[in-house]
């Protein structure tokens, strides 16, 4: 264009005007150039060792966690949560009876007790997730349980943590699906107890005064998780039916009642932690001591075996 004759000097000439066409064509060329470069970049990234995943599912840890500031807690709106996404782990940090009565499908169970640290086995499984996984913590609306769990987990080095905004109630509101689990209730003890192991949910004094034959003592406490040693013993016989009883009658539908019935509380603990065969004995134990000493039970004695993991995947 302009690189042709240039001999005219300082006068209006016959030369070209403003090259509008070239200026516009440049934008087309720019688009082509960017498209070409983008394709080359994606191919290069796919072929190079250690190429980045195209999408990132965890926030960048630019700043340390600031748990003291509520506004700094990363929150996720319920509509942005897609259970079943392989890059997302949903963790229910509520207590077991709440977990059984309704949870986001596929939730892991990691209860946040008032006075107890988080289950290390579940935390280890969370740490083993691939980098970039979002960990969405679900609490109950109006409580700070999920926020406390987030603080505790980020203190253990986990990243990509979010609190589900509004808790489970916000998730349920527009009719989104929830998983529930019902624990079977045995009205009266009958049949052969051979395949069963009784679990006594009463307090220490009541258990010492008397209990069913071979019963394992797992007292109900809504502030503390079950003793890991006792859980480990029960794990070894978990293929047998665990029948939980207490000293007071169990309502027809034990879930949903507050305060939580001791037998239901203990049974919920076991179910939420993945024990496959748990039921509740509605009939209370009020009789005189007729049980054999606990050590005679056909449940393995306390060992140093580490407690087993919870029920990640929420498959109680």
């Amino acid at each position: 264009m302009t690189d042709t004759g240039t001999t005219e000097k300082h006068a209006p000439s016959r030369r070209a005007g403003i090259p509008w066409r070239e200026l516009v064509v440049a934008w087309r060329d720019a688009g082509l150039l960017v498209a070409l470069a983008a394709v080359a970049a994606l191919a290069f990234n796919a072929l190079r060792p250690g190429g980045l995943p195209l999408l990132r599912y965890a926030p960048f840890d630019l700043l340390g966690p600031c748990p003291e500031l509520a506004d700094e807690i990363p929150r996720l709106a319920p509509e942005k949560l897609h259970p079943g996404d392989p890059n997302v782990v949903v963790v229910d940090v509520r207590l077991p009876w709440d977990h059984l009565e309704g949870r986001v499908p596929g939730s892991w169970f990691l209860p946040m007790y008032e006075t107890s640290p988080l289950d290390e086995a579940v935390v280890a499984r969370l740490k083993a997730q691939k980098p970039g996984t979002w960990i969405v913590l679900v609490g109950a609306a109006g409580t700070a349980t999920a926020e406390r769990a987030l603080t505790a987990l980020s203190g253990q080095g986990l990243r990509g943590l979010f609190v589900l905004e509004g808790g489970l109630e916000a998730w349920k509101k527009p009719g989104r699906p929830v998983d529930t689990t019902t624990i079977p209730v045995i009205v009266r003890e009958s049949g052969s107890p051979a395949g069963r192991i009784f679990v006594d949910a009463r307090d220490d004094g009541a258990f010492a005064a008397g209990h069913r034959d071979g019963a394992v003592h797992l007292p109900f406490d809504d502030l503390l998780p079950p003793e890991p040693e006792i859980l480990a013993r029960l794990r070894e016989v978990q293929d047998r039916e665990l029948v939980v009883y207490a000293g007071e009658p169990v309502p027809d539908r034990p879930g949903g009642h507050r305060p939580v019935h001791p037998a239901y509380g203990v049974a919920a603990e076991l179910v939420a932690r993945g024990f496959p065969r748990v039921s509740i004995l509605a009939e209370p134990f009020t009789g005189p001591a007729r049980g054999a000493p606990e050590s005679d039970a056909d449940v393995p004695p306390v060992t140093d075996a580490p407690p087993e993991a919870g029920s990640p995947g929420g498959a109680p």
Binding site: P12, A37, L52, L54
Partner: protein
């Protein structure tokens, strides 16, 4: 295009003359070299360490983390390709538009960081790496980096408007085509 303008007003004719003055081809060459080499130098470490570059992008907190990797993968290659074509004078105006686009993006990002005082927005409990990077960022933002980008934006705009690619592949291709036509 390139129609004679003898019938237009004298002002338009003077503009046309100034626009097409051969000096532009000469002025553009050093601009292309300086800006192009700057982009080449900038692209190389990003290509070598895309993860680190992704963190740099994330530090601006301008986009959702989900797409940061995508930008970190594509942008360095766009820089590289644009810089090479810019220096070589191949589709030079198109390359200049790409450069302008990237520079507008960089200026917007730096301005964003400057306006939002990114290093002041949190409670101060930065991770060591984040604190170091933000501190370095604070030293440079609003001074040399921003003005360097503004200067390069004007330079690339100049190339887009005035450079015909005479000294480069475009000019060589044109002269070759002309020669083959002539003879």
């Amino acid at each position: 295009m390139n129609k004679p303008v003898s019938s237009t007003s004298p002002a338009a004719a003077w503009i046309a003359l100034a626009w097409n003055h051969p000096i532009h081809a000469w002025v553009s060459v050093p601009i292309r070299l300086v800006v192009g080499v700057t982009f080449l130098i900038a692209a190389w470490p990003k290509l070598m360490d895309p993860e680190g570059f992704a963190w740099s992008i994330a530090m601006y907190q301008m986009m959702t983390p989900k797409y940061v990797h995508l930008l970190a993968i594509i942008l360095p290659v766009v820089e590289l390709v644009a810089a090479i074509t810019f220096i070589a004078g191949f589709r030079v105006r198109g390359a200049a538009v790409v450069m302008c686009g990237m520079l507008v993006m960089f200026i917007a990002a730096l301005s964003w960081a400057f306006i939002h005082e990114l290093e002041m927005t949190s409670c101060g409990c930065f991770t060591p790496a984040g604190a170091k990077a933000l501190s370095e960022h604070r030293e440079t933002v609003g001074t040399s980096l921003l003005w360097r980008d503004v200067w390069m934006l004007f330079a690339c705009g100049y190339v887009w408007l005035f450079d015909t690619g005479r000294w480069g592949v475009d000019g060589w291709l044109r002269s070759r085509k002309r020669r083959s036509k002539d003879g």
